[in-house]
Symmetry: C2
Subunit: 133 residues, 2 copies
């Protein structure tokens, strides 16, 4: 890995992501960091986010729709999405049994299966309460 410098921009981006109480996107981070460094550019935010992800200090979470999200939580975990409001919460990892992976491998004729993407969708309690109304 190429050596990376400590700049105030990158530090501010890291701090912003780390203090987020959700899974922010680049725009949110940009707005946050702009308060401290008013002339920072969005391009720099993207570059810092990419660099921090590569270093493992944050996690990049690309979604099928919408912008990439950045996750301050680098521990192993999964996500659940509320289908109504879009809220995303962390949940503990779920293990897929080896024999299931093996059957997937056989069904696909792949040489190996090394990664599984698992994500949940549901209805968060806030939206459930509103719906009930």
């Amino acid at each position: 890995m190429a050596k990376t410098r400590n700049t105030k921009q990158k530090a501010a981006v890291l701090a912003a992501v780390k203090r987020a109480k959700h899974h922010p996107d680049a725009k949110w981070v940009y707005e946050q960091v702009s308060r401290e460094i008013p002339n920072i550019s969005l391009g720099t935010v993207y570059r810092a986010l990419a660099s921090l992800s590569a270093e493992g200090l944050i996690r990049e979470y690309r979604q099928a729709d919408g912008p990439a999200l950045y996750d301050p939580n680098i521990d192993d975990h999964l996500h659940i999405h509320c289908s109504v409001c879009g809220r995303i919460e962390d949940v503990p990892p779920v293990e897929i049994p080896q024999d299931v992976l093996e059957s997937v491998r056989r069904a696909s004729a792949f040489a190996k299966v090394d990664r599984v993407h698992l994500e949940f969708h549901g209805l968060c309690s806030a939206c459930a309460a509103e719906t009930a109304t």
Copy 2:
């Protein structure tokens, strides 16, 4: 659902997706259909794909990176991606046990968990053969 008309454009788009031996994107479909209907527009292809997906005749498969893919196979199934060449193959569905879903629901404090997204990544046999060389 609003009633939808049968146009030759839509029929040609459906036929193109159905005869695809892979998971085509809009551009591929556009190129295919252009042979029959040379002046069809890409916008129409997108609209037809959206309409056919809504009708359940094909399946839309949005990826985190790259274009949306359209799947001629509407039976319940999952996908495995080769991390080297990007090839995508279908695999049979994998059931997540109810008690696992329930523990996810509890961990997230969601009212319910109704959908699970599961996808595999690995190394396809063709790429494995090349790597071995």
